[in-house]
Amino acid sequence: MSLLVVQILNGLQLGVLLFLIAAGLTLVFGVMNFINLAHGVQYMLGAYLAVMFYTLTGSSLLALVFALLAALAFGLFLEFVVFRHLYERDHLDQVIATFGIILFLNQAVKYVWGAAPLSLPIPELFSGSIVLLPGLTYPIWRLVIIASGLAVALLLYILVSRTRLGMLVRAGANNAPMVSALGVDIRRLFMIVFGFGTMLAGFAGIMIAPILSVEPGMGDTILILAFVVIVIGGIGSIRGAFIAALLIGLADTLGRSFSVDILRLVMAPSPARTVGPAIASMLIYLMMALVLYFRPTGLFPPKGR
């Protein structure tokens, strides 16, 4: 029982992490119609910057602030130098250019910080575990990740559904040329959306750094998962991304911990031990294929497309 609760919390934690990354991806994709494969390396960069600023300042809070600002600055720099010239281009051109940036940055962090995994200590205040129920302890930092992810989700919800900027973003996701024709500076809107997305990815990297090893290529796997999330959720939909992220996070975590036990109900232990992990790894992709089979544009496609 307590194992189930722990795994559900772990699943939530993975879910909110995926949401932080997928939110930026789906916004950039939805509003700018731009496939940014480099979104994953921006998450990696966030983690590396946090480590760097922590070593420099010795303070977790300062590291968070500086790393966020640096991630934002770097994202805007990339937007200015490369991405801006690609918005009008074919999706495939965007894929190849952003793939080039992945290659460059993965190697660059190896060059600057070395190939060996780095680690970031958990902030003093949030280290250790907490007793949730009798006999059930859980690391505080993971709860902090869940809480901050939910807070960001709430903030995004308010931003997107209650502010003028959010209105423009929603309008942009529906029909960007029309928004531009109505006199909105679409370039500026793109830059704001892009910067915001980058910062969210960086934030995810910073938050996860204390419990993962910070290493080159850490963004690649999470990038694919984030794409799975936005496709299941419906491209351009924040709400879809949120629901899909939690779904994927829970399915993946629970699948990995319980697939063998579930399979043992219907097959012999030894094949179950072989088949279980395979099914667990495939589970989210199976889910994506199923969702797309029945809803070819995801669960919550933005209206008017």
Binding site: L86, V95, L103, I235, S281
Partner: protein, 318 residues
């Protein structure tokens, strides 16, 4: 055939002569691998360049072909007349079955659902514990042909691969100009119009997807024999991404562009990695530059340069 593809194939055919002067094994091995990936890239160009169907799980076809050979070999079946058809049928069947589902979606969703099936194949291979799992499977003997072993002889194997490449090129070329190809290309331009004309474009696209899978299976068969080894890494999404990049780099929808792209991508990577350990820091920005400067790959860039050159030299007379 126009001149450029003939020149490419001639270059491949003459390479072993030049290679005989030094580093023969290395060069044959390198170019053989280029040609093998070019076969898969041709199949991908058929989909992407002529049908706007961006398959992001193409490495799975190669991997399935390769695993079919290696698994049969591990059971002592080395005869190519058995393993080659099995590899082709397995890859084609996988393409056909996943294609029936994938082709329900369009655009980016198609990219992602093909990725999903590619990833499933990857994780399936990783979990094949009896056949090496994550670590992959070593082939202790290469395929034989009627008891002979042509794949052991480096040069002979090289020319077999070249023959396969030329054969696949001619097949694809014939396909795209055929009635089938015209319908398939028409569906890229305007699916609704083709449907109104009475064509069931789904069937055409599915057939093209299956053919493309078969080419991937052939590449897998050759790759397994060339490397004596198969592993799940053959099916990783990075591999699929590389294949897409190769064909875009060369120039989409030309077929020989796919071969040129594969050649340039592989050789550039090989050359740069010999220069410096951090070669990807040069390679990455190069890719970005190619996209920013060349609108349709290297072939497009060459055409632009040629047009500029002609203009420069035509003006004095005018």
């Amino acid at each position: 055939m126009s001149r450029l593809p003939i020149a490419i194939f001639l270059g491949f055919a003459l390479l072993p002569m030049a290679a005989a002067f030094g580093a023969e094994t290395y060069l044959l091995d390198l170019f053989m691998r280029v040609m093998i990936f070019a076969i898969a890239a041709l199949g991908l160009d058929l989909l992407v360049g002529f049908g706007a169907l961006v398959s992001f799980g193409h490495a799975a076809f190669i991997g399935i072909g390769a695993y079919a050979v290696a698994i049969l070999a591990s059971h002592g079946i080395n005869e190519a007349w058995i393993s080659l058809p099995v590899a082709l049928v397995a890859a084609t069947a996988f393409a056909y079955l996943t294609g029936t589902i994938c082709l329900r979606t369009r655009g980016v969703y198609f990219i992602m659902i093909t990725l999903a099936f590619g990833q499933m194949a990857f994780f399936l291979a990783s979990s094949l514990a009896p056949y090496g799992g994550d670590d992959g499977l070593t082939m202790h003997a290469r395929s034989t042909l009627f008891g002979l072993s042509p794949f052991k002889h480096e040069r002979l194997f090289y020319y077999i691969v070249l023959a396969c490449l030329v054969g696949c090129y001619c097949l694809c070329r014939a396909l795209v100009v055929s009635r089938f190809g015209r319908v398939f290309r028409g569906a890229r331009e305007n699916a609704t119009r083709m449907a109104t004309l009475g064509f069931d474009i789904y069937r055409y696209q599915l057939a093209a997807y299956a053919i493309s899978g078969a080419l991937g299976g052939l590449a897998g068969f050759l790759l397994a024999n060339a490397t004596d080894f198969v592993s799940p890494a053959y099916m990783s999404w990075q591999r699929s991404g590389e294949l897409i990049i190769m064909i875009i780099l060369g120039g989409l929808g030309t077929l020989h562009g796919a071969i040129i792209g594969t050649l340039v991508y592989s050789l550039l990577g090989e050359w740069l990695s010999g220069l410096t350990e951090n070669w990807k820091m040069i390679f990455g920005p190069l890719l970005v530059l190619v996209v920013l400067l060349a609108r349709s790959g290297l072939l497009g860039l060459a055409a632009q340069v040629a047009a500029w050159w002609r203009k420069q030299h035509a003006e004095p007379q005018a």
